[in-house]
Symmetry: C2
Subunit: 287 residues, 2 copies
């Protein structure tokens, strides 16, 4: 039978395509991958209500190790494997497709929007993006900064850089790692603010001038949803901006055309007046 790899798009359950919904409703099993991305605020129950059938949740382990469960099932019955965004956003899904085909299971892919194309909403032209980078949460002992060279290369070539920000879902707690019990950390989604903190920390350490506090960039949140937020400002300004709920992404522009600038200017972030300015304004106003 068929493994349908269905992209869910970026917003909520209504961002599935008609073709995708048909495949899901016709499938014997429906599996939702929920570790490379999520539909924030959308409970699986809302998907189940639309689909009219139960939805199994697959974490990383289930897809990368134990996925033979649903792959085996796809030998005898149609299985729908749901991915937020587009099915080919992550290597792990390309790998899943490859394993399925090697087992003789036919794979049908139903594409959808992903951050990789929806980011065009910020006004920067898609074809002028260079290599995209990922920024992970820094820890005391693990502060990978290989993205820095890529941003530098993109900026030197005049190309824009899409920064994909870390998502931590179903991470085992330290206790769980020690005891083998299934106990998970609460989910964490990197904000534009944290990404900028980390970027500026790396720039301070590396000092090769890939960017600076004054570098203008674009932060986006909940892209593709009616409540999306797009803000254009300097790294220093956006570090303090409130983008609201996840998911967030960041774009560091390269060379900007006049038209791109015109569009970004419509998203200009105006920082709230600082306390000192408030006080000064108060002192200047008549008694």
């Amino acid at each position: 039978m068929v493994l349908h790899m269905v992209g869910l798009g970026l917003g909520d359950e209504r961002d599935v395509t008609l073709r995708g919904l048909e495949a899901i409703r016709g499938a014997a099993r429906v599996v939702l991958e929920q570790y490379t991305s999520v539909l924030p605020g959308v409970e699986p129950a809302r998907l189940e209500a639309l689909y009219g059938k139960p939805v199994e949740i697959a974490d990383r382990q289930a897809v990368e190790e134990g996925s033979e469960g649903f792959l085996e099932a796809a030998r005898d019955a149609d299985v729908a494997f749901l991915v937020v965004g587009d099915p080919f956003g992550a290597t792990t899904h390309v790998d899943l497709q490859l394993r399925a085909r090697r087992m003789g299971v036919r794979v049908e892919v139903i594409h959808n929007a992903s951050i990789m194309n929806a980011v065009g909403a910020c006004g920067l032209q898609l074809y002028r993006f260079g290599e995209a980078i990922s920024i992970v949460f820094f820890t005391e002992t693990w502060r990978p900064d290989s993205f820095y060279d890529k941003i530098l290369a993109n900026r030197r070539a005049g190309l824009h850089t899409l920064c994909l920000l870390d998502i931590r879902v179903k991470e085992l707690t330290v206790k769980a790692l020690c005891t083998g019990r299934k106990e998970y950390e609460p989910p964490r989604y990197m904000s534009v603010n944290v990404a900028l903190e980390q970027l500026l920390e790396v720039e301070a350490a590396r000092g090769e001038g890939a960017f600076a506090e004054e570098t203008m960039c674009v932060g986006v949140a909940r892209l593709g949803t009616p409540g999306q937020s797009i803000l254009y400002g300097s790294m220093a300004e956006l570090r303090g901006a409130d983008f609201g709920e996840p998911l967030h992404s960041l774009v560091i522009p390269g060379e900007v055309t006049e038209f791109e600038q015109e569009v970004m200017d419509t998203y200009r972030y105006v920082p709230p007046p600082s306390r000192e300015e408030d006080a000064a304004a108060g002192a200047e106003s008549p008694p």
Copy 2:
């Protein structure tokens, strides 16, 4: 009221999202942009049957010059503006959005898959693509080759290059240009074969070694549809491959990871035996 910019995705009328369909069905006017891309083989009547209402066709002139007609209409009533792929694939749509917002019209964008993200289906990782290029039909007098430097830069940086191939829809005939009558050339869609011819011609002229006949690349056709075709082979091989109906695109890989290679190998093009080989095989077979 609202201008809904609705992405239709890549395949047929069923690739619209539920959110998109709702916006279309609720709109007083539905306008289909049909010059930056098309759903090949899908007549507007099929869209009208699904939507339950008439669909107006907009050519370049209508969108870039005369679009105030439907933009004005969006002041007083909901208008759905349909774009094949994602609404932000082309500058012209970003411009339309900007003009609408300046007129005080609220714009809602409903994203969908586009070639920019669906191309991940070929096995090359999306985040490792550099700047995308466009290849236009060469004429006797107009053979623009600025894409060559971009391919060269991407290849030197180890990045993949997505080549978007020319689409000529509703082009006025020479006679029409002379007489002012509305007479159009039949639509033309560049094939992978023609793109490779032109690329190799430019390489021969420029000679900087951006690529060669032996360079392995990936041609894709009708991506995102059930009848899609993905073929991996050398430029010389794919120049003679039959990809079938439009739309076609081409990818010139940069540095390829082991995993990317593994996936592309599953799409390896096997050229049919040449006549000489056939004859040789015939001579060798027993009488």
